[in-house]
Amino acid sequence: MTTTTLGTDQRPAPTAANPHPGSSARAVAVGDALRLGLARGGLEIRQFFRSRVQMFFTFSMPVVMLLLLASIYPGSVPGTGATYQQIFTTGMLGVGVMGTSLQSLSLQIAGERKNGTLKRLRGTPLPKSSYFIGKTLVVLASSLGQAAVLLTVGRLFFGVRLPVDAEHWFTFAWVYVLGIVGCSMLGIAYSNLIRSADSGAVVMLPMLVLQFISGVFVIFSQLPKGLQTAASFFPLKWICQGLRSALLPEAYARSEPAGTWEHGRIALVLGLWAVAGLVLCLRTFRWKGREDG
């Protein structure tokens, strides 16, 4: 193994390199935060792939759910040219986005608050934002791995088509990234409400409700109007809709509540959640546990 040596010489002191205060110093600070965020991401990803149990369940749970759902509901949705199995695959991809970001991230951070990880980091010059970037990167890596497994299974067994052209791939990419970033920020903020890593129910219940009303287990447009409206305030419905637009035949758009894919609105809602999540997490994030005084 060749590891780079991080001696003093390799890292010029920011102040020495930038004697002028003001915007250039701020640019250096932002550059530092990004660079350290990438370093954090590398460490977090290594940690993720080394925790076999976590990795196994992250990758297998949506696949198992997909296999179950697909065997319970065979056939295609009348008048859309899409099968239930294809639709469930997009739904499970959406669940995967929220599962790896909001759900597992909030539990993980609550655990790190408990076991001293955050306290130790707080004692170093590491910027908060670098920690957030690292978390977002590990979520991105684990959820992309999960998506690859789901798409492979969907393609092999359920006739799921990969995005047909560059435009559809682009849709897939921005929906995915926007969903991941927004939900990661929310997950970090949500971790404040969790007292210990054991209290998974605090996370599981709202997630399950959200999955039902966002059209993961059922066709969204067949849900009662009230539930549809409630779901449209949260990101999952829009993530699933965006993923359907990337993966399903164009004809399916007519079955959406608005009769179109509503890309503009998807971007708007997910973007707003990402910004709100970032603000929330910068304002409420605590390095300390409640009992730490």
């Binding site: 790190e112 990880t117 707080r122 004692g123 005084g293």
Partner: protein
């Protein structure tokens, strides 16, 4: 004392948790390059004081200056100059010793060389071991390694040698000695008296949130001027005398025995004797007030 030579300045520090007073009007100065040990029984307030100085806990009252800044508002540049070894840790168990050190070295502007740190804490042959597989003492040494990694001007050590065997503790003392030679200021909490005596320039005894005494280990509690016990044995059995002038007593004894005094001992109260009597005295005073 001029300000730039004071690493830590504490005036009237107070902190309570609900109705329990954890820190009660503590004043303390630590000079640059000095090693000060906070000594006291469990629950005396040592960790609370340390964590307030590290910026981990808020205070109710008091004036603080740590490396010229208020720990409550000390930013990244301030944290770059301090090193912290917390009392317990259980993080990054899946990462190897070397990976942890290389990762944390990136956070500092002028980190120490990772190989040097591995060597200094005696973990060179464990560099490829995941931290979750280290023994308690090895884990603690990694904590110390992380504490000194950033080349800190000021190092906080909260009970650093708990769980060390005597040999490893000696090695750790040598490490602290070399940090002292580099001019590092160290605030240490410990409940090992011999550790405080060996390492510290001054010892601050904390009890029930109060600072009971601050002095060099040799002078603490008037130890240097306390009466010495001179012991010897003759045909009647063992004797012991408490005297102000042990040298004269020994000379008298030597004359009496015409040379070698059988089983001669001369002893001053140990740091432990002084410390225990201080704690006892402070407890009675506390009960009276």
């Amino acid at each position: 004392m001029p300000n730039q030579q004071t690493a830590i300045r504490v005036r009237g520090l107070r902190k309570s948790y609900r109705d329990v007073v954890a820190v009660d009007r503590i004043d303390l100065d630590v000079a640059t390059g000095e090693i000060v040990a906070l000594l006291g029984p469990n629950g005396a307030g040592k960790t609370t004081v340390t964590e307030i100085l590290e910026g981990f806990r808020s205070r109710d009252a008091g004036e603080l200056s740590v490396l010229g800044a208020d720990p409550d508002t000390g930013g990244a540049a301030w944290r770059d100059r301090i090193g912290i070894v917390l009392q317990k840790s259980g993080d990054f168990e899946l990462i190897t010793v070397e990976e942890v050190l290389r990762q944390f070295a990136r956070y500092y502007r002028r980190p120490r060389d990772v190989d040097e740190v591995l060597d200094a804490v005696g973990l060179t042959d464990k560099r490829r071991t995941r931290t979750g597989l280290l023994s308690g003492g090895q884990r603690r040494r990694l904590d110390v390694g992380l504490g000194i990694l950033g080349n800190p001007e000021l190092l906080f050590l909260d009970e650093p040698t708990t769980g060390f065997d005597p040999e490893v503790r000696r090695q750790f003392w040598d490490l602290v000695g070399s940090l002292r030679d580099d001019g590092t200021t160290i605030l240490l909490t410990t409940h090992y008296l011999e550790e405080a005596e060996h390492l510290a320039d001054r010892v601050a005894v904390v009890h029930q949130g109060r600072l009971v005494a601050v002095d060099t280990p040799a002078r603490l509690g008037g130890r240097q001027s306390a009466r010495a016990a001179v012991g010897w044995t003759d045909a009647d059995g063992p004797h012991e005398l408490l005297v102000d002038d042990p040298t004269r007593t020994v000379l008298d004894l030597a004359a009496r025995f015409g040379g070698e005094v059988p089983e001669l001992t001369v002893s001053r109260p140990t740091l432990e004797d002084v410390y225990l009597s201080m704690i006892e005295l402070s407890t009675t005073e506390g009960a009276q007030s």
